[in-house]
């Protein structure tokens, strides 16, 4: 039997990860509920004044998305590293770049897309307008894949280490900062009545850059960590 093509392997890997995530739904839902709770804590802590909430909403939603995505990073490679599947994946003839891309895609679909779906509802808590909610969804749709891609580099570097969770945060948050600035900036521009397009275009550019280079860095990090 000839070895499977790159694309059928990609499809199979995405499907496998989605299936495994479905069988452990609680992990996935925990991230989503963390996001919801963190976003809801801010109005409780700061007070219900409407203009204040509208001002802090972009930052709050984006920082909560950052933290929630960091919690789910160890799921990209962690389970496979522990049971030895990752070693086998590193030995396949298919390019490691595509394997990484498939796993990151699966993690994004499972962990980040629910965040993007629930974000407008949370935006209503902060009293944002329809237009702004639309900008929020687009900015999160463009930004969360970048978070997963850059986060996968950190996840691969810290595979199997003792304090992996905290260390991943330390490594990956500085690299997340540009995404945060552009993403929150887009929503802020919309709240202030201005143009969000420049920020969204910059987010798109970071997405393209991350898609091109991050899986490459992650494959190098995987080969280093699984020796």
């Amino acid at each position: 039997m000839p070895p499977p093509s790159m694309f059928s392997m990609f499809r199979w890997l995405v499907w496998r990860d989605l299936l495994l995530a479905w069988r452990r739904r609680t992990d996935v839902l925990a991230t989503l509920f963390f996001f919801i709770i963190v976003v809801s804590l801010f109005p409780l802590g700061i007070g219900p004044e409407a203009t204040l909430l509208r001002t802090i909403a972009p930052g709050v939603v984006w920082v909560a998305a950052l933290l929630a995505s960091m919690l789910s990073l160890n799921r990209i490679f962690g389970n496979d590293y522990q049971d030895g599947t990752l070693e086998q994946l590193l030995l396949t003839p298919q390019p490691l770049y595509l394997i990484v891309l498939a796993k990151v895609l699966a993690q994004w679909l499972v962990s980040e897309v629910p965040l993007v779906a629930i974000a407008p509802v949370l935006g209503l808590q902060f009293g944002l307008s329809q237009n702004t909610l639309g900008v929020m969804v687009v900015s999160l749709l463009l930004g969360t894949p970048v978070l997963s891609l850059i986060g996968s580099i950190g996840a691969a570097l810290t595979l199997g280490l003792r304090s992996a969770n905290v260390l991943v945060a330390l490594l990956v948050l500085p690299l997340y900062i540009p995404v945060l600035i552009f993403g929150a900036g887009a929503i802020e521009a919309s709240v202030a009545g201005g143009e969000a397009r420049p920020y969204l275009l910059l987010l798109g550019a970071t997405l393209v850059l991350a898609l091109a280079f991050a899986p490459w860095a992650t494959s190098a990090a995987l080969r280093i960590s699984v020796e």
Partner: protein, 248 residues
């Protein structure tokens, strides 16, 4: 084979580099002390009082060299780590590990002196402008590099993981450098350009350049000292260390 009589590649081995670094160290340390003395004298007693800011502008003579060294040392760290990874040369990775604390300290000094200067000059200790934010990111990158290396027990994996992190983060340094051109925020533009005449008084420029040289020579000296310590730690089971009594 090369025609040169010195085989430079032999210094890529820790056993040969250790005595070479030991011989270079006193020269660089002495030069650094002299340059610091000259530079501090120039900056406090020779450079004139500023028209707008009076004496408080003198913090620039520490702030700018520290900022330059912080960025430059990160690029150097990334290059050494890359060499160590690509050529499997552990001395390269040891140099990267040796540079990291000095780079982190200089970046920290530039952040602190910058905010101390910001209070009299701009009225606030901190603004989130492009250059300050990206320098803060540089600080986090240094801290991330140091913690990643210290949390991995296997030295080979630690070296290579640090190399990946350093190379991924090196994109930040051009962003810091060009941030004042790309975003029109609070930090001033570049005063010293290579092609045009500088817009500072000559004595101020001289003091700043002397202190930059001092920081650079100091970085070289301290990195050599630190890499000697790292060689002793890592190569402690090598024959050349196990047999002889090692002196400083």
């Amino acid at each position: 084979m090369s025609k040169s009589r010195i085989n430079w590649y032999k210094y890529a081995a820790p056993v040969n580099f250790y005595p070479l670094a030991g011989k270079m160290l006193p020269w660089f340390s002495g030069l650094a002390i002299v340059l610091f003395a000259v530079g501090l004298y120039l900056s406090f007693f020779v450079a004139p009082v500023d028209f707008q800011q009076g004496h408080s502008y003198r913090i620039i003579f520490i702030h700018v060299p520290a900022a330059w060294m912080g960025m430059f040392l990160y690029v150097l760290l990334a290059i050494y780590a890359g060499i160590g990874w690509a050529f499997n040369a552990r001395l390269g990775s040891m140099m990267a590990t040796a540079i990291a604390p000095t780079g982190a300290i200089f970046t920290f000094i530039s952040l602190v002196t910058g905010s101390l200067w910001g209070k009299p000059a701009w009225g606030v200790y901190w603004v989130w402008d492009a250059r300050m934010t990206s320098t803060l990111i540089l600080m986090f990158l240094y801290i991330g590099f140091i913690s990643l290396q210290s949390s991995i027990d296997d030295t080979r994996r630690a070296d290579r993981a640090g190399a990946v992190l350093a190379l991924v983060g090196v994109i930040n340094v051009p962003i810091i450098y060009f941030s004042v051109q790309w975003w029109n925020t609070l930090h001033q533009g570049a005063t010293i350009r290579i092609a045009n005449k500088p817009t500072m008084a000559p004595t101020m420029l001289a003091a700043m350049l002397v202190l930059t040289a001092a920081c650079w020579i100091y970085s070289i000296a301290i990195t050599l000292a630190r890499v000697r310590c790292i060689i002793l730690e890592r190569e402690s089971e090598a024959p050349w260390l196990a047999e002889s009594a090692v002196s400083a």
